[in-house]
């Protein structure tokens, strides 16, 4: 108490500090222009991160329409998976994609020394874990697959309170590059806390949240919704929409994504949109292949 008062006195003695110009605030990323076109350049504080400041989806169509060519690192991102039949289900496809992308980025950051440890990926919440064979891609060598699997720490906290504690501990750790977490309902204050922790260490947080929390205020940098969509191809398809992004988003962006097979390589691709949704009985029977 006494020290803060003396601090106040000192600051008063040294005279008033000059007010910050609004341009400075805009430049530091604290304030965005409310009108006009969205800021395309996003300045982001990423101390200790050398190579890149974003985490690409590795889907060019999506990455290119994002200002940072991916998800900015050192920030929170929220993912919602909308399926009324399985309200507890979270998306595992997009987190898997981002985990692979994050691993490649983290490895390339200390490429000059093989033995140097890479930052880990922490995956919190058992229900959101994908099966390990979905994580590894068959075209990689076994040692690469093993290294990737070993870089992920799966944590299954027994209750919500410990989930939040684990999430924050992981975000505050210097050894963690990406945290993927099945996130219980949290308040704006908690998201602020997580954001500060993420920014401090340059770790990225993907919060897999419940769709009922969609409209809660949060400090997430981006907000995504994925919904299953009937597909005309014989593979699953989803609609992935970016609904919110800090720095402005004139209209929600959405893509139709699906699992795409090309040169024996499995990837998620943006599919061409189909106008007719084919809900009719005949169409379904026709596709049924009888």
């Amino acid at each position: 108490m006494r020290s803060s008062i003396s601090h106040l006195k000192n600051s008063l003695a040294s005279g008033p500090t000059p007010p910050l110009a609004i341009d400075d605030l805009v430049d530091t990323g604290l304030v965005w222009a409310a009108s006009g076109r969205p800021k395309t350049e996003i300045h982001f504080k990423t101390e200790g991160i050398s190579a890149s400041t974003s985490l690409p989806f590795t889907i060019p169509e999506i990455d290119n329409s994002l200002p940072a060519k991916g998800l900015p690192r050192g920030a929170l991102h929220e993912f919602f998976y909308h399926d009324t039949l399985q309200p507890e289900r979270r998306s595992s496809l997009i987190p898997t994609l981002l985990a692979q992308s994050a691993y490649n980025t983290l490895v390339s950051e200390n490429s000059w020394s093989r033995s140097a440890p890479t930052r880990a990926i922490v995956w919190i919440g058992k229900r959101s874990w994908p099966t390990p064979y979905a994580l590894i891609s068959p075209e990689h060598s076994y040692s690469a697959q093993e290294a990737f699997l070993n870089s992920i720490i799966f944590i299954d906290p027994p209750n919500n309170k410990l989930t939040l504690w684990t999430l924050e501990t992981a975000l505050r750790s210097k050894a963690v590059g990406l945290v993927i977490a099945e996130c219980p309902r949290i308040s704006l204050t908690v998201t602020k806390r997580f954001e500060l922790a993420a920014r401090e260490n340059g770790a990225t947080a993907l919060l897999l949240r419940d769709t009922s929390d969609l409209n809660l205020p949060s400090r997430a940098f981006t907000k995504w919704i994925m919904t299953p969509t009937p597909s005309q191809h014989d593979a699953p398809a989803w609609e992935l929409s970016l609904t919110n992004m800090r720095g402005g988003l004139q209209q929600p962006l959405s893509w139709l994504i699906g699992i795409h097979e090309q040169n024996s390589r499995i990837s998620v691709r943006v599919l061409p949109r189909v106008v007719d949704q084919c809900h009719t009985e005949e169409a379904s029977l026709a596709r049924f292949g009888t």
Binding site: A120, R127, P132, Q145, L149, I152, L162, T169, P236, S284
Partner: protein, 472 residues
Amino acid sequence: MMSLALAEALCPGIYNEPFDAIRDYTALYTLAVWCLRYSPLVGLDSELHTARGKGELNSLSSLHYGIIIDLSGTERLHGPSRNVAATLWKLFRQQARIAVAPTIGSAWALSRYAESPLVVSLSPSELPDALAPLSTLALRITPQSAAALSDVGIDTIGELLTLPKHALSVRFGKALLSRLHQALGEYEERLRVVEPPTSYERRKIFEPPLIHRRAIVVAIEHIFKDLIAELSARQIEAGYFSLSISDTAAATTHKEFPLASATNSMKHLLEILEPIIDSMRFCGEIREIYLRAHSLTRSTTQQRSFTAHQHESTDIARSHSELLNSVSLRIGKDRVVRAVVHDSFIPERSFSYNSITETTTSDSSQRAVMEPRSPYNLRERPPTLLATPEPINTLAMLPDKPPSRIQWRGRHLSIISGAGPERIAPEWWRTHLHNDSFVGRDYFTIQDDAGRWLWVFREASSQRWFVHGVWN
């Protein structure tokens, strides 16, 4: 030399086990450490030590597996050495061969070659008479030297003693003579003593007992600090700590603090221990607190490097283990896991989650991806498997086609497309391992009209349907 087959034929049901020299040596060492209660100086044969150092234990004669206890000056504690020998004789259920003698050499000879299994011969003057009937091999000489002696008609030590000693040295080498002198106590022989494993522990007894919670917490923290300070001063890291708290009613609570990686960092340990100690419950009056560090490893000295990058990488490694420690201590070791892929066609057996701490301590032969497996792609296998398959009702038009309607979680879903069946049969080549009840399944990939993709199967025996996985 008898073959094992012959031995089994002669004595049916005989118990046999491959000879493991290292294990025997370790067991003997442990036994020797136990014998430290009779004397501060307990040793093993110097031949055994040498062979262990060279890794030649397998070729060593089993005669050298013995324990040497120096009983000089222990009479006040244990009474005459005769009594100690008798006690040990009883403790080993009269199976051991024990000799008490003034020199190491004579004790060795008498314990191995005397007719009686328990020999006590105390005065040096009796020694030549006691040794005389023994074979020359009892002098710890090589079988070759013994054979050379036997060629000239010398089979016992008594016969050897009658010969002039300088001639012996010339004809049979210095080793024989020095062994003879050692047995008779004319040359000095040193004992290769065993060392007890050092333990790091702290015990505090409170008189009067502690009642206040605050005092107990402070005492525990103080003991922890004290032990950690000693560990870090000796550059030793502990894998886990065990804490026992006894109250005046003689009830003891045990608490273990397993760490994901060994550490001796005071700041880090106190940080993760504090919430745990805070959450502990104490009842009654605390009389005694006992803390012990286990799984000790020598810490690698960390030198600050020239380049900032290297420093950063040691930083990452340290915070990595700190993260694992604090998380596994707080929410449990088995909840912090690592994924391992197995070579199995059965979906739920093709992977497992192993505790991080266990896999890091085990040898590197345990690998995350065991063997080349058939490459599944994301279309064939869903990214998420349900923890347990959920039963569904189905309406299938044709026997080997995907169902056209299913009822899952109380909702009717009409299926608009599907693929299959993919039959997964029991892995007969492993059934003896699992002793399992796995029956064949026919898997189908189906899509409902909302675009939901499910992985369903029909159990071959019961014809019941289940949802096993989802694409999400």
